[in-house]
């Protein structure tokens, strides 16, 4: 299976960075000839992906699609959908058995219908061997039992975005590494009228990632490893108190924030600390250079449990097992993650996409601008939305229904007391995990 000529990663990277379109097409042709997956004659693929956030990333993706067509003759028709629409549409396709061959979705999508996903263990093995192995979370996202049902392409990290000058003025030389120090920083920022703010509304990306971190960092969990609901616990209560204390020191309005709210306020200069992907920084470089120069990123602080408990947004790609062209799909999946494609693609995403394959740590995009470096490691640091439990339909449903987000928002805003907030979350979770 792995009998074709392997290039070393370094060679690949050096070649990749500067490949012109014609050189890319030449390389793609050579790749296709030696690839272990020979696309079916006349294959045409339909692929659905999430709608881009960074324009250049989408352009690089389409360039890859064009190169694949030139090399193999396989035409791929790509449709983009918003985050919220990917899951229902993919589920309907899985149910009806027609419409799409591949879906590049988010979080735990393939685990909603593992029986409908093509076994791509050979692709995962091939890529893992060639590119330094998979990050641990990559295996969690990719495998159902012993077989790989999807290939985790990349992650977009939700990390601390802060204004350096405001942090220093608040009396901190570096970003706090623990939750206690973090709370002090948020309080001091409020006192200086340079407030922090984190989404407590129904923001699928921002609110879910930082609030799961807050829950896990205090030892709280929605379910245990047997998928038994254990949200109603003293640890959860502590995390609720922690978030309430933070909320009281936030800029007003965070209970209504969606995924874009903190971006625009931070870029305007009114918000001094939030959690987000790298998109705030990318936008600030274009629209408000002063903010871009004065900001930096940090890992999420470590809580009483004593280890990182971050949640980031993974983007896995799956192939349906009813596709008429399984080899073409496998070939394209591997093609995307080859250094000649993946490196320039990740560079075009400017830090928005972080890899699961260890060898890509060396991509210069992570070190050419040190402010991007923390995002390099998010795939290694992330847990899955299932927490301690099984990654599957129930976990996917629980995160999509904002059970954890609503629990925190209910208590922080004073709509419910601590017991009421936990009981409501418990009741809803038990229904999903029955």
């Amino acid at each position: 299976m792995h009998d074709f000529t392997r290039r070393t990663f370094v060679k690949g990277t050096a070649a990749a960075a500067m490949l012109s379109t014609s050189a890319l097409f030449d390389w793609a042709k050579a790749w296709a000839q030696s690839s272990p997956w020979k696309p079916e004659a006349g294959a045409k693929l339909n692929l659905m992906r999430w709608r881009r956030f960074v324009e250049a990333e989408d352009a690089a993706f389409m360039k890859m699609v064009a190169a694949f067509k030139a090399a193999t003759g396989v035409e791929i028709s790509v449709v983009s959908e918003s985050y919220d629409d990917i899951q229902p549409k993919a589920s309907v396709v899985a149910n009806t058995g027609q419409g799409l061959d591949m879906v590049w979705g988010l979080y735990s999508l393939p685990h909603l219908f593992p029986a409908k996903c093509l076994d791509v263990t050979d692709v995962a093995d091939y890529l893992g061997k060639k590119y330094g192995g998979w990050a641990q979370s990559g295996e969690l996202y990719g495998k159902s039992g012993n077989k790989w049902i999807c290939i985790p392409i990349a992650t977009t990290g939700g990390l601390m975005n802060y204004r350096v000058s405001s942090m220093q003025k608040a009396g901190f030389k570096e970003f706090p590494k623990d939750t206690a120090g973090f709370l002090e920083l948020v309080k001091a920022l409020k006192k200086n009228n340079t407030p922090a703010g984190f989404a407590l509304g129904h923001a699928s990306g921002d609110a879910n990632t930082w609030l799961h971190w807050a829950l896990w960092s205090h030892g709280g969990n929605l379910v245990d490893k047997n998928d038994k609901v254990i949200i109603n616990s003293p640890e959860t209560a502590k995390s609720l108190e922690f978030v309430k204390a933070l909320y009281e020191n936030f800029i007003p309005g965070t209970a209504s924030w969606n995924d874009s709210s903190n971006n625009k306020i931070f870029v305007s200069g009114d918000l001094h600390l939030t959690s987000n992907g790298i998109s705030v920084y990318v936008t600030a470089q274009k629209e408000n250079k002063a903010v871009a120069e004065d900001m930096n990123h940090a890992y999420m602080p470590i809580g009483p449990v004593g280890k990182p408990t971050e949640l980031h947004l993974a983007f896995p790609i799956l192939t349906f097992n009813f596709t008429k062209a399984p080899n073409a799909c496998k070939a394209f999946t591997a093609f995307m993650l080859e250094a000649e494609n993946f490196n320039p693609w990740v560079e075009s995403a400017q830090g928005y996409l972080s890899h699961f394959l260890n060898a890509y740590d060396k991509n210069p995009v992570w070190t050419s601008d040190p402010k991007r470096t923390p995002y390099r490691d998010v795939s290694k640091r992330t847990l899955t939305p299932a927490g301690l439990g099984t990654l599957g339909e129930k976990a996917a449903s629980a995160i999509a229904d904002f059970i954890v987000v609503d629990m925190f928002a209910n208590y922080a805003t004073g709509r419910e007391d601590i017991k009421g907030a936990m009981a409501a979350a418990e009741r809803q979770a038990k229904r999903i995990y029955r």
């Binding site: 919220d84 899951q87 229902p88 993919a90 589920s91 309907v92 899985a94 149910n95 909603l112 219908f113 407590l200 509304g201 129904h202 800029i251 007003p252 309005g253 965070t254 209970a255 209504s256 924030w257 969606n258 709210s261 625009k264 306020i265 305007s268 009114d270 339909e393 996917a396 449903s397 999509a400 229904d401 609503d406 928002a409 209910n410 805003t413 709509r415 409501a424 009741r427 809803q428 229904r431 999903i432």
Partner: protein, 320 residues
């Protein structure tokens, strides 16, 4: 002779059967009416009755998006009975519908009466009034989302510049502020529909009635109370039925502005149904929430039907 008679009868008999069966179905006036109704019936059955029936059926199952489910009887409804978010959404929907509909009616009627007067650039003004109704809902919702933004609100900015407030108003972050803000946006959008429809009704009132009343010494209020209002009632019944239905089932404004937040304070039954059924994939539960809207909608239709339409024009009798 006998032969002839037999032959004649034999010839007549089948013709008689032909007439009584297929030909009759083709030519009978009663049956013909049914034939002409068939296409409409098929459309209604396919696009209204079937989805409605399917929705109700789904609400008795545990269907998830992407896979079928089994019959679970009333379990979804029993679960919703103890679900505080569901009851909050019911209260929100009632508040939203009642407040917005009453204000839309009052403002719409007032606007219609104004536009019925002789004013300069009458046609232009009438067309301009329709603008909020013409703008796609999602666009106006996004405009309101900016107007209500916690940091960049033009309202907060203006009030601060005027020295009336010192800090920004948290329009969509505070539960009650968010409720009133979304209700206001709905009113802004809905008033033109009410106003223009009532204006059309006003145009049908004969001027001679007003002339006669004026000659009899009726005050403007008496003219409105005893001429305009009674003659406008049928239109009011229709327009308010539609207005209540549109408001009760509103989805786009809320979804684009708040997604039901903050802390579910603006979740309507329609948005909660979408959140649970489509986003979270619990199709059966989402269908149950949607089905729970039906009694309220039927109630609203009944009130306007029996309350406002008991009029001579409809009943053709003295029943007032």
């Amino acid at each position: 002779m006998v032969d002839v008679t037999d032959k004649t009868m034999a010839r007549r008999a089948p013709r008689k059967i032909e007439v009584s069966a297929w030909s009759q179905l083709k030519s009978n006036r009663t049956w013909l009416g049914y034939w002409f109704m068939l296409p409409a019936l098929a459309i209604l059955a396919l696009f209204l009755a079937y989805p409605l029936g399917l929705g109700v059926w789904l609400s008795f199952t545990d269907t998830k998006i992407g896979r079928g489910g089994g019959w679970i009887g009333l379990e979804n409804y029993e679960w919703l009975q103890g679900d505080s978010t569901f009851w909050l959404s019911v209260l929100n929907t009632l508040l939203y519908t009642i407040v917005a509909s009453v204000i839309k009616f009052a403002a719409g009627l007032y606007l219609a009466l104004l536009l019925d007067k002789h004013i300069p650039f009458k046609a232009l003004v009438r067309a301009a009034v329709l603008i909020p109704f013409i703008v796609p809902t999602v666009l106006s919702a996004i405009a309101f989302w900016w107007i209500y933004d916690s940091q960049f609100s033009i309202l907060s900015w203006s009030l601060k510049k005027m020295g009336l407030i010192t800090a920004n108003i948290d329009f969509l972050g505070d539960p009650w502020n968010a409720r009133w803000s979304t209700i206001f946006a709905n009113i802004w959008r809905g008033v033109p529909f009410v106003a223009i429809t009532l204006l059309a009704g006003l145009q049908t009132v004969s001027p001679s009635l007003y002339e006669a009343a004026t000659l009899d010494g009726a005050t403007p209020w008496q003219r409105f109370r005893h001429i305009t209002y009674p003659l406008l009632t049928p239109i009011i019944a229709v327009v308010m039925t539609f207005s209540v239905l549109f408001t009760f089932t509103d989805f786009q404004l809320i979804w684009a502005m708040t997604r039901g937040g903050p802390v579910n304070a603006t979740h309507l039954m329609a948005t909660l149904s979408y959140q649970r059924g489509i986003i979270a994939g619990q199709l059966g539960e989402g269908a149950a929430i949607a089905t729970a809207m039906i009694p309220f909608l039927l109630g609203a239709i009944m009130i306007s039907w029996f309350g406002l339409q008991r009029r001579k024009w409809q009943q053709g009798s003295d029943n007032d």
